[in-house]
Symmetry: C2
Subunit: 583 residues, 2 copies
């Protein structure tokens, strides 16, 4: 939080507000949607406050909120760019100017602050802005056919409805969704505007836009129960999982347009896989999980979080990746900030709210979706509070001990991850659970719980090879290493032979584990046997082609060390590969 | 010749001439530079006549020539497109409209007909057109700064000078070269117009344009001895060979712009490698060979001819490739003709004149550049005629017997190909040549020859692996098979396992040979040991990623059959690879 706040200051993102109230001179700084980073930071700060009760942070939040609300216009309009000399351009370019996107983030921040800090200054401003949006984009508004070029307002308005009970916000969110695909903003795939929402059967265009849109549509379904929306969402999620996702859970493979590619278009070196797209997919999968209770969505959240998202932030916690290649030969370093800096505060708000993705509740059931050491107090709809304690070194170890510290009758639904396709065992108070344990599902334990009852889940976690569908032509003959939910990678700094294209994994790798050292402390390193293949490196000429004698020793064995993919690029410069040749 | 003549007829290329003289009605057919195909066909027909004395072909040539000369304008202008209603557009778009390109091909055809058939009707027309070009583009002409957007006229004008002795044509060719790189036609790399010619140190832009330009510049150097031209040509040739050429000799790797890519940008599947670009490189290398006597240029002609060019024509001789990928997964078939059909008649004129690339002569020396069974009578500058007979099954066998059927003192320079890097032996009348035999050079045998003297050259020709410089990242860990000058490839139709990405060659391949059958009759097939690698093909699900168990048998051995690359795509549909994984 402090380093990002510094960046908001340094880069003029905060000054842009002060400028509008005459407190600072000079031109607007940076891009027209820069304020969205301020709102996302505020949202993250609110979540952090909920955990830490950090008074200094709350003070900072108050200060930033004051700057924001000071620029709200008499009619409720609030945006740091489209005021002053630019007032006349309001709502003029909905396709590309991100006004409703910024408004959405303002609303989400306002709700988070109200919920976590208990202060409603920004919420009042957000409601006035929301009311203006409803008036402007409602049936009799000046822009009744308006479509936001970058989805985000959809989720925000549904949440504002949930927080306030004002159905106008829900209806307006629905209206934005229904206006799409009519060509209002040009009908381009990039904007998911080439088809009406219900006709989408796969992911198209700009990846972040696409998953934000789907998360918003899922929110709308949750509130209005329109099954045709759910059908489109499920079709898209299924297609995405079969054809368009990286082994890390990352999405949006194409740099050009930050977009989804064709089916099976999943290049490694040129992977775009924007951090924000992975985060948006978690938003979407979380809503799908809430709707369906299908464990595949919890699996996806886990995979995406530990791999595609975590790779987006440095181990020191203050540097970020915008794109996340699966192979790299450049002098890669994460950056403290970007000109378009959507990813850093997006990681912040996801990680600061991550505990919210661990459990779900209903009238008298609890779902345990994710595993990590910690305690929780969960309020059921029937009014009972369930206290749980998880003890585990997950994801480095598959032993999870859940102690129930509540006397009550309820069902505890324990997720058996899909990655654990066999051997999972469950014990309740030391007695093996009598039913079959199905991977990628929840094991339902319904009983009268006594305080001190213990559920022990054991998930065998050997290192294993993953292979890709042969449709992904660039991955033929290659494998990646996965252990539990963690995808591993090779960095040249760990290998005896630095050229990763010369290293092939053996089919019989004799995997073993080692504890990570220094910045990798706490992680498990996977060791394996491989071959170093003789290549042209050994030919001392610069000719383009040369004979390769078959009398040359073909290869020598070598010990390979693989580190968690999310930890790549944190040490000496070197190359990286997730996918490795295998013999 | 007959099938191409048919295409010239069917596609309206001949009718376009008749149309202008009122003999046929209707609009101009096809693209504005279509007549260049007619001229190239005529040039090829003249060369064929020189070998065959085919009276029917000569009759056809006369008929086509009559059609062409009938449209020549009073001022000498001759073009089937820019006359009639388009007269006012003459010389209007030198950058893109190929007028001077067409004129160049007309001139080359005219010279070939005069030389081979002994008829000068088209030559007279070509001289009148050449005179108009000299007048229009000369120092006091209306277009004195003109630059041809597609080089070709440069070579043609130098040859017209050689054929007529009129130095104005040579000077005009030089003028076109000197006008380049001044931004006259926009200064784009695509047109080799971004730099003055002497500043070019590598190949840029459209590949065919680039090699035609260089062949023209080499012709100019041969006549005017301007060393600064030669320096640029040598720098470009060296850079091309080190960074921009396929193992087949093909060039112009990038489909976009039919262009040279960056250094080491040599994709296999997406290789463009236009047939015309390979042919143009032979034109250029031939001129470099004539200038320097350096055997590397003869090596390049051989490699490019047997691989990059021959792949451009079907084994039946009537179908063609425009681009020549080095890997293919599509239902590939050569085509009888194209809308832009530069390649078919270009192959025709190269193959019909191929004997012209076999020998060079000087005052009292003979150079034997290429090997194939045949006889020749070579006139030396000192007036002697040297009769030679080659007996060989080259390129399928490295034994070459050259019998001298002349009594004279002269030097016979025998090329030792660069591909034969050791073991070559030479005997003269059964006695081993006492000096060391250097690959990629000429062995000079100076003596008083008696009729019946025999030179025996033996070039060991084992099948061998080629590897690429590690700079070509997509070829790391891959090998190709080469035997003598022939590059081999795998077609799925010949393998036990059709998926070529599952086949890896062994480091100890135990190569053996087999005679080709059916359409491959006369060729040598290379057999080798390989592995069939277990891949996801064997996993019966459609998931994007799945565990790959290391208990699976990793591979099984298989016998692989490789065919000459030039013969690919002539049998059942299937996939093809030049570069294969190797363990």
């Amino acid at each position: 939080m402090p380093t990002q706040y510094q960046q908001l200051n340094i880069t003029g993102r905060l000054a842009n507000f002060a400028r509008e109230t005459g407190k600072k001179a000079g031109p607007f700084q940076g891009l027209y949607f820069n304020e969205s980073d301020v709102y996302k930071w505020l949202e993250a700060a609110a979540y952090v406050f909920a955990d830490t009760q950090d008074a200094a942070l709350a003070h900072l939040v108050r200060d930033v909120v004051a700057k924001i609300v000071a620029v709200q216009q008499p009619d409720g309009y609030l945006n740091a760019y489209f005021i002053g000399e630019k007032t006349k351009l309001r709502w003029f370019d909905l396709k590309d100017k991100h006004e409703l996107y910024c408004a959405g983030h303002l609303i989400q921040a306002a709700i988070a602050i109200d919920r976590c800090i208990g202060e409603n200054t920004l919420l009042l401003a957000a409601r006035r802005l929301g009311d203006l949006i409803v008036k402007t984009f409602g049936p009799s508004g000046a822009h009744s056919k308006g479509v936001p070029g970058h989805p985000e307002i959809e989720m925000a308005l549904v949440e504002l409805y949930r927080h306030t009970g004002d159905t106008r916000y829900l209806l307006q969110s629905t209206r934005f969704l229904e206006n799409r695909g009519q060509g209002v903003i040009g009908g381009e795939e990039y904007y998911q505007d080439h088809l009406p929402f219900r006709a989408l059967q796969r992911m198209y265009g700009h990846a972040v836009r696409a998953v934000y849109l789907n998360a918003g549509a899922a929110d709308i379904f949750i509130e209005n129960g329109d099954q045709s929306l759910l059908a489109a969402l499920e079709a898209m999620w299924t297609h995405l999982s079969k054809y368009q996702v990286y082994v890390t859970g990352g999405i949006g493979s194409r740099r050009d347009g930050e977009a989804f590619g064709k089916d099976y278009e999943l290049p490694s070196q040129d992977a775009y896989a924007e951090t924000c797209a992975a985060i948006g997919k978690i938003f979407w999968s979380w809503r799908m999980l809430s709707i369906t209770g299908d464990a595949k969505y919890a699996d996806d959240i886990e995979l995406t979080l530990y791999n595609a998202v975590l790779a987006g932030i440095g181990l020191e916690g203050t540097s970020y990746n915008y794109s996340n290649p699966l192979a790299c030969d450049s002098m890669h370093r994460r950056q403290p900030w970007f000109a378009i800096s959507c990813c850093p505060p997006n990681i912040a708000r996801l990680l600061a709210s991550i505990t919210g993705y661990f459990y779900s509740t209903s009238d008298n059931e609890v779902w345990v979706h994710q595993y990590a050491a910690g305690t929780c107090a969960l309020e059921l709809l029937n009014g009972n509070t369930v206290n749980l304690q998880q003890q585990t070194n997950y994801p480095w170890d598959g032993n999870i001990r859940i102690q129930v510290n509540t006397e009550a009758k309820f069902s505890l639904n324990i997720r058996i991850p899909g990655w654990c396709d066999s051997g999972a065992t469950l014990k309740v108070n030391g007695i093996t659970w009598p039913e079959h344990i199905h991977p990628k599902s929840y094991c339902k334990i319904e009983r009268q719980w006594s305080s001190g009852d213990v559920v022990e889940l054991n998930l065998p976690m050997p290192a294993r090879f993953m292979s890709a569908n042969p449709g992904v032509s660039n991955l033929k003959g290659l494998v990646s290493i996965k252990r539990g939910p963690i995808i591993y990678c090779l960095e040249s700094v760990d290998q005896e032979y630095a050229d990763l294209d010369r290293i092939w994994l053996l089919n019989t790798p004799e995997f073993s584990l080692e504890d990570g050292q220094d910045v990798l402390e706490g992680m498990k390193i996977v060791l394996a046997n491989g071959l170093v293949i003789e290549t042209r490196e050994s030919i001392e000429d610069d000719s383009l082609y040369a004979y390769k004698e078959s009398s040359t020793p073909p290869s020598q064995t070598t010990r390979i060390a693989a580190i968690p993919y999310f930890a790549w690029g944190n040490r000496d410069y070197g190359n990286m590969r997730v996918w490795i040749r295998q013999i």
